[in-house]
Amino acid sequence: MTSPRDFELNRRELVVGATAAGALTTLPKGAQAEQASMDQPVLAKVGLTVNGQRRELELDTRTSLLDAAREHLHLTGSKKGCDHGQCGACTMIVDGRRINACLTLAVMHQDSEIVTIEGLGQPGNLHPMQAAFIEHDGYQCGYCTPGQICSGVAVLAEIKAGIPSHVTADLNGPMQVTEAEIRERMSGNICRCGAYSNIVEAMTEVAGRPA
């Protein structure tokens, strides 16, 4: 009997195969040759540190940092939501800063230090933010959660470092972890289940203030 996992793999291969066959049959012969010569993949080498481990890769220059992690390093915690920087599901912490991994090329990250959700914590060894998300039900379907948690960890670090936000009343005063600050700073992470209020509670707890 086929296990659900086998089925998923088979289904995925089937979809990929069908798309490729479709593309080949719809293109006229001349266009196929022209397309191939004009649009040959260009490979480049890049070495980076992911979750403390040095990784050397040879990639198509078009590969986003997100695809490098998911498809080449098999770190599938970071999610591809919109692939256009609008949803935040791909958020990683790169050289100490949160970024949209979908909107940067892997080859632009030679020697970068990258932390994904897998590097923040593991089962049995959770990061405090991961534990707080569980405790406060900071998710429903969980798809946006790795990005929310990476962003949440970075947001608290940004406030600690004195980086102001749109809702900071006094640009030159001390920064505080308030609900308004958390909501504004987390606006690049969309949760379509609407777990926002619980995410705010989880972050507030980690920041050391009463939730």
């Binding site: 040959q40 936000s165 900071t168």
Partner: protein, 316 residues
């Protein structure tokens, strides 16, 4: 995305040369706008020159008492710089009103200036757009235009410059510094950096092909109250429908520029004489000759009221 070759030069002159050496090459810095457009095949460079290794990432004082902001200074770092927060708060505020935390961490000063329009017809490759495909027509003029330009537009294009940072830099009279492939440096006042669409809407700025932005300089501080007020469809992470950058002095005089209304940050120095008389008089002068569409005529009233709110804030 179309495939491309990639290189990472180490000096500004090398970068400008690298760009000129190959047809259809582009600079990439933060990449947050360019890669988005490449995925949609709106931009299709065949060679990318990565400028992140050029070392243009410092904010330094100038002999004139201003600040020189390197082209690669990230939006987060510019907004957070203590000198910018204290003396150029309108610029900090404008930056913090734009994009998301993740994007501001990547986006650069030069890249922010060069971001393309967010006109939905520019983004939709199934629609005509003179900016994306010169000569194909403008779908926006008779289409859905509530976000688009009300002044300075043409029969070819009603797109807006979507940014916030440039509006603040315009009100501050910043200067863009560049270098070309032959090593020649040039200084472009912000007033002349972004252009109006006219009959060449595919050209956003007055940069020459291959010219590389190296820095933006801010003149010595203006003093006064610095305000950036942005009106958008949601409270965070959205483009401006209308924004106001204002620097107002205690006597009520000052400077004002509008975002979200034109192909460039919109400032009319002559209109600023009306500032002590209030928002209505100023907006009438600032937006004289506006040609809104049916869908975006509301922006004229919205600009007046947003400026009114900014002036109240300035007096507080």
């Amino acid at each position: 995305m179309k495939s491309f070759t990639y290189e990472r030069p180490s000096t500004p002159a090398q970068a400008a040369q690298a760009l000129s050496a190959k047809p259809n090459a582009k600079f990439i810095a933060g990449g947050t706008n360019l890669l988005d457009l490449m995925k949609l095949q709106i931009e299709t460079p065949t060679h990318l020159v990565d400028v992140n290794g050029l070392g243009l990432d410092a904010i330094e004082p100038t002999p004139e008492g201003g600040l020189r902001v390197g082209a690669l200074v990230r939006n987060t770092d510019l907004a957070s710089d203590a000198r910018v927060r204290k003396d150029y708060a309108v610029l900090s505020r404008a930056l913090l009103a734009g994009a998301s935390g993740q994007l501001r961490n990547k986006a650069t000063t030069a890249g922010n200036l060069l971001q393309r329009t967010r006109c939905p017809y520019f983004y939709d490759t199934a629609q005509p757009c003179n900016k994306r495909q010169p000569g194909s027509g403008c779908g926006a003029i008779a289409g859905v235009s509530r976000q688009l330009a009300i002044i300075g537009s043409s029969e070819a294009c009603i797109a807006t410059h979507p940014g916030d940072m440039a509006v603040a830099m315009r009100v501050l009279d910043a200067t863009v510094e560049t270098v070309d492939a032959r090593g020649n440096a040039r200084r472009i006042p912000m007033a002349e950096f972004h252009r109006l669409p006219g009959d060449r809407p595919e050209i956003d700025t007055t940069l020459k092909p291959g010219e590389l932005i190296t820095a933006v300089t801010l003149p010595k501080p203006l003093g006064g109250k610095h305000i950036y007020r942005k009106v958008r469809d949601r409270a965070s992470y959205a483009y401006a429908l209308v924004s106001v950058a204002a620097v107002i002095q205690p006597d009520g005089s000052g400077r004002v520029a509008l975002g979200g209304v034109a192909h460039k940050p919109w400032r009319v120095e002559a209109a600023e004489a009306a500032l002590p008389r209030g928002a209505r008089a100023t907006t009438e002068a600032l937006l004289a000759g506006a040609k809104p569409t049916h869908d975006n005529a509301y922006k004229i009233k919205l600009a007046e009221r947003t400026l009114g709110a900014a002036l109240i804030e300035a007096r507080a």
